[in-house]
């Protein structure tokens, strides 16, 4: 097991290397620079600016310098918001996004699995049909349609919930309800379908029949025997779900005007704020890669066959 963990951990290094290198060169070969948006900048000023940010050096030197800084955890100054460093900008926006993302992930896992269990145990009855219809809606309707429609119904027409961050008409908790529900809906739907299908499969497995034959009650069979086997696909879906929540939060944060890292990302991409874009790509990738790593380890514990492959 330890060997498996170490091997998986070592394989993270090339991924992170590729991400840093790719994002650095991708952005540097792009037409237009961070200062090209500013009209009528005198040549001398431009040259000084480039000198200040070491952009007059050969590309390779810039790359090595950047790589070294990143390893030290320093993402440099922001080109656009000149008074603050990238680290400060990200530190300000990060907690909001983490709160939103983890709430959405928790919500989708808890509700997804519960609904999946209920549908599977009531297969082809009204509970199943209702749940699976909701799940298809969750998968088919994009986040950026769900978000505005929920806003339209619950905030504007009914007036039950605050429409966006900052308009705290109710308590502090309520501002997050709509964005969290919006963000979690597609993942909830997918997890519900996934766990329903895998529970249905496990219910027919031999070891479940054995458990029943021993005379165990149905609730014990489900809770002890079915669930553990059925949760494996859900665990392996957590990695992609996490990636989806990261991209989903870009849309949800812009729909609900949440000052999180997703909005900062879109703005920095539009502004060509090189250092900020790279920092965000690296942080998002690191989160994603670490999440995938954790998922693999959990999977290895749940299903030891994987670790010895």
């Amino acid at each position: 097991m330890a060997k498996f963990i170490i091997r998986r951990f070592v394989s993270l290094i090339p991924t992170m290397f590729v991400i840093i290198t790719l994002s650095f060169f991708l952005i540097r070969i792009a037409p237009g620079g961070p200062f090209s948006g500013e009209k009528n900048m005198p040549e001398q000023v431009l040259a000084n600016m480039q000198k200040k940010y070491h952009m007059d050096e050969p590309l390779m030197n810039q790359y090595l310098r950047y790589f070294g800084d990143v390893l030290k955890g320093d993402f440099g100054p922001s080109y656009r918001y000149k008074e603050s460093t990238v680290n400060e900008l990200i530190a300000g926006a990060f907690p909001v996004s983490i709160a939103l993302g983890s709430m959405a992930l928790a919500l989708s896992v808890i509700f997804g699995i519960s609904v999946g269990i209920i549908s599977a145990l009531r297969q082809n009855r009204w509970q199943d049909y209702t749940a699976m219809s909701v799940a298809v809606i969750g998968i088919s309707v994009p986040l950026f349609v769900i978000g505005p429609i929920l806003q339209l119904v619950f905030s504007m027409k009914l007036g039950w919930l605050p429409i966006a961050w900052g308009s705290r008409r109710f308590s502090e908790v309520l501002w997050g309800l709509l964005p969290t529900v919006t963000l979690s809906l597609p993942f909830f739907a997918y997890i519900a379908r996934l766990s329903r299908a895998s529970i249905l499969e496990v219910l027919r497995a031999d070891y479940v029949r054995t458990a029943r034959a021993k005379g165990l009650s149905e609730s014990v069979v489900v809770a002890k025997h079915v669930l553990k086997g059925a949760l494996l696909p859900v665990v392996s879906y957590l990695g992609p779900a996490f990636a989806g929540i990261i991209t989903g939060s870009l849309v949800v944060e812009s729909t609900f005007a949440i000052p999180g890292i997703g909005r900062v990302f879109v703005e920095s991409a539009l502004n060509r704020d090189y250092t900020l874009i790279m920092a965000e790509v690296i942080i998002f990738s690191l989160l994603l890669v670490v999440m995938n790593f954790l998922v693999d380890i959990v999977y290895g514990f749940l299903d030891p066959r994987i670790a010895y492959k």
Binding site: T15, I19, L26, V141, P142, F144, L152, S254, V266, V281
Partner: protein, 358 residues
């Protein structure tokens, strides 16, 4: 004799008509009502999209300043615009009755613009236009914008899928067939690319090649296609690996068939089912991705429209003019629904063992 050739004999020595995989799958698909409905809706959308230039609908770029933000109606636009204008006058009047005397000049203005509109419309032929889905903030027909937006969205879905399938199939097939060290290397590359947050890379690509706030649709195609072949490559590789040691491949090899011939003539036709399932299910996901980018302002830009950019425009004005959000959102959702049901149905039909899998 020729007739007997395509008859087979079953284990009870009865003559049976052999059923091909495709005929069998078609039969199974026909039993699945939702999938069939999905198929017809998809075909309908495709026909409307292709035929859009010859359909009797307004030009999707035509700006009509007289008919801004008209609600959906079956009446001629002239009537709708006038009733909207008189509603506006009533609204101001009732506020004045409530004691808002500062609104008196606004009332005069509203009345003047009502009279102007009336005299304008009496000479204009556009007064007879009918906007059954209303108009947007520039007086453009929502119906035709939604149709043309759908054209772009569906085109992106189609082109993205074709590219992803081509790259993914060739990559996966070569990797799976060659095996060994090359396979290892090729799959490591796929693994590393899987680790990339690919939507972020697409966003960077779109932002990079954006000129003065507008991005080219061509870059969008490339950006989406570049990152989307990975799953297909993995799936095809798995299929090829499980097939490559079967007898028919050995037979082909023993007769001197080249590697390319074995891959393209013997192995790939046997994985066609999986490829089709993947392709059908990836069209909606491409459309979602494109709309996602357009929603963030990084995708299709004006005067072109896609479902994503229409939803974005609608969401910005949904409080006063909800139809501007609901019309494109409904069109897009119905299409995505249909494609998802069709894809699920195709999977059940072509690969019955996978039934009940999520």
């Amino acid at each position: 004799m020729a007739n007997e050739n395509n008859r087979a004999v079953n284990e009870f020595n009865q003559q049976v008509k052999p059923v091909s995989l495709w005929a069998d799958a078609w039969k199974r698909l026909q039993k699945n009502r939702m999938a069939l409905a999905g198929l017809w809706i998809t075909v309908l959308f495709a026909i409307v999209g292709i035929a859009a230039p010859v359909l009797p609908i307004a030009d999707y770029q035509k700006v009509e300043t007289d008919f801004i933000n008209l609600p959906p109606s079956l009446k001629p636009a002239g009537e709708v615009a006038l009733s909207e204008a008189s509603l506006n006058i009533d609204r101001i009047q009732s506020r004045i009755v409530e004691g808002r005397n500062d609104l008196l000049p606004a009332l005069e203005q509203a009345k003047a613009s009502y009279d102007k509109l009336k005299s304008d419309l009496s000479v204009k032929s556009t007064a007879n236009n009918v906007y059954i889905f209303g108009t947007d903030y520039l007086g453009r027909d929502m119906l035709s914008r939604t149709i043309y937006g759908g054209r772009i969205s569906m085109l992106i879905g189609l082109i993205g899928t074709i590219t992803a399938v081509l790259i993914g199939v060739i990559y996966g097939a070569v990797s799976g067939y060659l095996g060994g060290r090359i396979d290892n290397l090729m799959m490591r590359i796929v693994d590393i690319m899987y680790g990339l947050p690919y939507m972020l890379i697409v966003i960077i690509l779109m932002a990079m090649f954006m000129k003065e706030g507008s991005s080219s649709i061509f870059i969008l195609f490339i950006a989406i296609a570049l990152v989307s072949w990975l799953t297909q490559a993995r799936v095809v590789r798995g299929q090829i690996m499980s097939l490559k040691n079967s007898e028919f491949v050995e037979a082909a090899r023993s007769m001197g068939a080249s590697t390319a011939r074995i891959i393209f003539r013997h192995l790939l036709p046997n994985t066609l089912g999986v490829i089709i399932i993947f392709a059908t299910l990836s069209i909606p996901s491409f459309i979602m991705n494109e709309s996602f980018l357009s929603f963030l302002g990084l995708g299709v830009s004006a005067p072109l429209a896609s479902w994503g950019s229409l939803v974005k425009e609608g969401a910005d004005r949904m409080e006063s003019f909800p139809w501007q959000l609901l019309v494109p959102a409904t069109a897009m959702t119905v299409f995505l629904f249909a494609m998802n049901f069709l894809g699920d149905g195709l999977r059940d039909a072509l690969d019955p063992q996978s039934k009940n899998r999520a």
